[in-house]
């Protein structure tokens, strides 16, 4: 009973923070029919100059988590170093990372259709001290 009361309450007032009692807001945002639909990714450049995507498979840090903390990363790009660290913890044999970037690809929508217009924006970037990437 208490559980049900809590889940009801958080549906009305709470936020995700109150997990496990939280509003069930899977895809609940209203996306505008006109505007830009964004898709975020993280890219890295390693010591050997190779550019590659930092996916959840290689870091253990998910895209949705990145998006959840995105404002933090934009405010303080130095935090991106921790994503590089996660990658290095998970892949100790691979060359180390020098640069990490958050890139958003934006697709333009008009009346719910894709116009074909695509924009790429680097929203935050971090380069390790002493590296000249």
């Amino acid at each position: 009973m208490v559980v049900l009361a809590l889940v009801t309450a958080t549906t009305f007032w709470g936020g995700d923070d109150y997990f496990p009692f939280a509003p069930f807001k899977m895809y609940s945002g209203s996306m505008s029919l006109d505007g830009w639909a964004g898709s975020t990714r993280v890219e890295a450049v390693n010591e050997e100059g190779e550019r590659f995507k930092l996916t959840e498979a290689v870091t253990g840090f998910r895209r949705a988590e990145l998006e959840g903390q995105k404002s933090r990363f934009i405010e303080d790009p130095a935090l991106l170093e921790y994503i590089a660290q996660a990658y290095e913890n998970a892949n100790p044999d691979k060359p180390e990372i020098v640069t990490v970037e958050i890139i958003e690809r934006r697709y333009e929508l008009k009346d719910g259709h894709q116009t074909g217009e695509v924009l790429e924006v680097v929203e935050a970037a971090y380069t390790r001290d002493g590296a000249d990437a």
Partner: protein
Amino acid sequence: MTQLPLQQKAVGWFFQPVALGRVAAMRFLAGAFIWVDWWWYMPWILGHRHVPGELYQPLFIARVLPVFPVPNYWIVVGTLVVLLAATVPMMFGWRPRLFGWIVAAAYFEWMIIAMSYGKVDHGKFAFLLLLFLLPTMPKAKWGDREHLAEHVGWGFNLVQIGVICTYFFAAWAKFRYGGFEWVNSATMTWAIIRRGTEFSTWMLDYPWMLRAVQWGMVSFELLTPIIMFIAAKRLKYAAVAFLYCFHVSVYLAVGISFLPHMVAMACFLPLERVSPRDLVRRLKRGKRVEESAPISIPLNNADSRSPQPHEDLPAT
């Protein structure tokens, strides 16, 4: 253990007795999911063992209760080991209550590890309820349709309400966060651009269709509470089958499966009728019996003028 006087006296809908066989089946299903979860369904949770503590964002519950440590390599791996080890005896009914509590606690910590890095997922509420209610239920055997318990009926009712809440409140959340215009918005377009599959990307050319899907989804989500009150068993199972179909289509369209939610939803079904021992026996008796039995019974019922007696009642 938790037999309150209220429960003993209460009759009617909320405490309608349910056969113990269903408890055994649900324990098995819950455990089976946990064994699939960590390497297939949500392998990224284990991936958090590499993520530095600086990216950990404690949830409200972890800030209030200081029992959840900042995850590191050994906390993540250790939680998983305890969870998996305790799941096996629970699945097979050995000390299911003791191990059920360990599983519930370990899975809860597993969820804290999962949800504390900037994204909270919402498909596991009913499953968590199930994990915490199963240990309150008695030891049970597969296929046991003779012993019924009000407590089991109550517990599964709570899980079912949790399942229904997930849909109903999901509709509510859409209005809360997206506004009533959600149904006409481009949310499905956005979802398919992000995670579309070959079954769904063609729909991007037909935005009206995606909008119709949004209308349909909100309508059925708002209607789900009715399921709790459908008296006719067959209609109820049909409604639950519809929900399963919905999840299959969502999975094909955007690759999101809500598998734990589907496991929890199984407690709507008369799983006490499944008895692995009988199945094995039938297999041994010969293929013909095994093949014809499961198919012919429902067809006979559908055609028959005198339907079978109530399926959920104990055999007398």
